[in-house]
């Protein structure tokens, strides 16, 4: 195969590329320039610092493969960053890593790779692709702590057919050891955790810079009574209790939590803890990693990266899906991605529109 190995400058993508070379593929290393700074060059912080680009280049040198930087910053701005800000503006909770896999790595990059005569894009994601009688399946990685199948669950079969994940059957510690053995200097580089375009991790300040203030009222979800005000909807997350400036005391001192937001307004709903326990989730834009599952299937669902897996019954309609959870889940917000699993296999994903108790 002719493979484009996305080299972030980190240890995982380095070992993934090395394994592609070992497998006998014709491999080209590509570093994606995603963020832009003032001078029109790759950003000085975040996922594409000059240091990361340099580390990626050195990995390619050691592996003896060609290396190029692809400027995907325009696509990334539009598909990931703008979408992130707009989603928050609409009261949704987006996951930019999912968007990036969906629209950049396994769309813009894969399309370009294919047009240029390459067969696949290899990344250092921890997930497994399994060939079965039903076709290609996406499975959890064997390293539970590192499993990234959640952020890949949005990929459609044509996208999956051009994806290579060489690390799904390996534990992170072994990947580091392998990097060291191969003489890759990135072996002990720390993992990145933050959203790459918010390197300081302060999402609230980032959104404040882009959206300004978004004042509104805090409203009691049961009585409709106004209990106070807030200055930014995006600073409040479902399940939050601290930092609410409630001016009306709660009856009998019950604690009150953010439970949701009125669609199309800046009114944030506040209520008792029971309302946070979600038993039913509705979601739209379903995508199946293979055949559409029968309705009423028993699955496990997950609503955030590395989140709990809950047993559930999956109800499939033509345009949307719902899941009924066997045990309650907290902190479910519209915009999050719902992923359904059958054992380790990803069944599909959908975007959460409503969560009810």
């Amino acid at each position: 195969m002719r493979v484009i190995a996305a080299l972030s400058g980190g240890v995982d993508s380095a070992v993934a590329a090395a394994r592609c070379v070992d497998a006998g593929h014709e491999v080209v290393g590509i570093h994606l320039a995603l963020a832009r700074s003032g001078k029109g060059q790759a950003g000085s912080r975040g996922c594409c610092t000059p240091e990361d680009a340099r580390d990626a280049r050195r990995v390619a040198d050691i592996l003896g493969i060609p290396f190029y930087v692809w400027d995907m910053s325009t696509d990334f701005q539009r598909e990931v960053i703008d979408d992130f800000v707009q989603s928050y503006d609409q009261g949704l909770t987006p996951n930019p890593c999912i968007r990036c896999n969906e629209t950049i790595k396994f769309a813009a990059v894969l399309d370009r790779a294919r047009a240029l005569g390459y067969d696949a894009v290899a990344t250092g994601h921890y997930a497994r692709i399994v060939e079965s009688a039903q076709g290609r399946e996406l499975h959890r990685a064997i390293d539970d702590d590192k499993d990234q199948s959640y952020v890949l669950a949005v990929l459609t079969p044509p996208q999956l057919s051009g994806a290579v994940f060489p690390l799904g059957d390996t534990r992170k510690a072994d990947v580091r050891a392998e990097a060291a053995r191969r003489g890759l200097r990135v072996a002990d580089k720390p993992d990145s955790h933050d959203i790459c375009f918010i390197p300081d991790g302060d999402t609230e300040s980032y959104l404040r810079r882009h959206l300004g203030e978004r004042e509104g009222e805090l409203v009691d979800v049961t009585t409709g009574e106004t209990l106070g005000t807030h200055d930014a909807t995006y600073a409040l997350t479902v399940g939050q209790r601290r930092g609410l400036r409630l001016t009306v005391p709660a009856p009998e001192g019950h604690r009150r939590y953010v439970v949701g937001r009125e669609t199309g307004s800046t009114r944030v709903l506040v209520g008792p803890q029971e309302l946070l326990s979600v038993r039913r989730i509705e979601a739209d834009q379903p995508r199946w990693c293979g055949v559409t599952p029968p309705s009423q299937s028993d699955v496990h669902v997950q609503v955030r990266a590395h989140g709990d897996q809950i047993r559930a019954r999956l109800l499939v309609n033509s345009e949307d899906v719902a899941v009924e959870l066997e045990s309650p889940l907290r902190g479910v917000a519209p915009g999050q991605t719902l992923v359904a699993y059958d054992g380790t296999r990803v069944v599909g994903s959908a975007t959460i529109t409503r969560a009810t108790s």
Partner: protein
């Protein structure tokens, strides 16, 4: 089996001459700081001064007008900043729109410091107009800078006339002749040339050595302050070995210029005709008559230059998109934009630059693999303008 490779990026760097490498090795084996007063120092100084004299003879200037630098970039910076700083009472700078970054960026930096800059426009082949420059010359101009030949499209400028016009107006004139030397006749002693920059690795000397030819009456403020080794305008221990190699390479460039130009021009013409024949939609930039003999610069509609580069590299052809870019992120070339080329088309451009070691086989190799690369690159299109499905 590795396929044959065609190196057609001589404008970026050309192989070192055996004779230059030998000169470097010989001189580098000896100890001695050229500024030292003992025997070893004198021996090193002698190498430097003989190299200086040799270069001065070849370029038509006096030995004292040859200043060794650590490359073309330093030579350009010293001329541009040095001349501008030396004339604070003359604020304006005239600079062509198609300069190499080694000139462009110092001028932009001076502009940020408050110096007004006239960007001299070029026509569709990338040439400035002498009349235009003449009209802009006045006694508030600190310097005018126009390169001898452009590194991307290869266009040669009417340097003698510009220099004469500057001399008439009493304005210092700098020219970056890094790409010109060895390919066209270069006379640094022309009336009106205040300073002229050269780089070693474009003519078969090592990387990291250059020359600024600086008129003995010119006033410049140094960029590097220190021991003042080079005429008090450039400090740092003079690199005798590099000076020796530079002298050998300059001699070769000047002596072989005509024969070299005649030979590579034939290859260049074959390549240019072949490109249009195999890829009819290609657009050649610049003008063959007004251009360096080894340059072919072409735009491929609907393609991204870096995609072409990658495909050609995989097929054994080593060329460039025009100007090297440190971040690796392609920008449409300011040279092509100044020539009025559409930005999307500009991004789909390649420079093939032939040199001393180029052969007909190189041309054949390029023509063999180019059509397929163009076809694939046009399928990939441009990441910036394509929408995500």
């Amino acid at each position: 089996m590795t396929p044959p490779r065609a190196y057609v990026d001589h404008a970026a760097s050309t192989p070192i001459l055996d004779s230059a490498a030998e000169a470097w090795l010989r001189a580098s084996a000896k100890v001695g700081n050229p500024s030292a007063l003992h025997g070893s120092g004198r021996a090193a100084r002698r190498i430097v001064e003989e190299s200086r004299e040799s270069i001065a003879d070849d370029l038509g200037v006096r030995p004292s007008e040859v200043i060794f630098t650590a490359g073309g970039t330093e030579a350009d910076n010293l001329a541009i900043k040095g001349l501008a700083w030396a004339a604070p009472e003359r604020p304006r700078i005239l600079c062509s729109a198609i300069e190499h970054h080694a000139v462009l960026d110092p001028v932009l930096w001076l502009a940020e410091q408050g110096r007004p800059v006239d960007w001299i426009p070029v026509d569709s082949i990338g040439r400035v107009s002498v009349d235009d420059i003449r009209e802009r010359l006045s006694d508030d101009v600190a310097l005018c800078t126009v390169m001898w030949a452009n590194n991307e499209v290869g266009t040669i400028q009417p340097v003698a006339e510009i220099a004469a016009a500057c001399a008439d107006a009493g304005v210092p004139f700098h020219t970056d002749a890094v790409q010109a030397l060895g390919h066209v006749p270069v006379n640094a002693g022309l009336r009106g040339i205040t300073s002229l920059a050269l780089s070693g690795h474009k003519i078969g000397a090592p990387v990291g050595v250059g020359v600024l030819v600086l008129d003995r009456d010119a006033r410049v403020v140094p960029v590097l302050h220190g021991g003042g080794q080079e005429r008090d305008v450039r400090s740092g221990t003079v690199d005798a070995a590099s000076a020796a190699a530079m002298a050998v390479a300059v001699r070769h460039a000047v002596k072989e210029q005509q024969a070299h130009a005649d030979r590579v021009r034939l290859l260049r013409d074959a390549l240019a005709v072949g490109i249009l024949d195999r890829v009819p939609q290609a657009v050649l930039n610049g003008s063959p008559e007004e251009s360096l003999p080894g340059h072919v610069h072409a735009s491929f509609p609907g393609c991204e230059g870096d995609a072409l580069l990658m495909l050609l590299d995989a097929a054994g052809v080593e060329c460039s998109t025009g100007s090297a870019c440190t971040s690796g992120v392609p920008e449409p070339s300011h040279v092509l934009l100044a020539m009025g080329v559409d930005p999307a088309l500009a991004r789909g451009s390649l420079r093939f630059s032939l040199g001393r070691t180029s052969t007909e086989d190189d041309v054949d190799r390029i023509l063999e693999v180019l059509p397929r690369a163009v076809e694939r690159a046009s399928r990939a299109g441009s990441p910036t303008f394509r929408t995500v499905s």
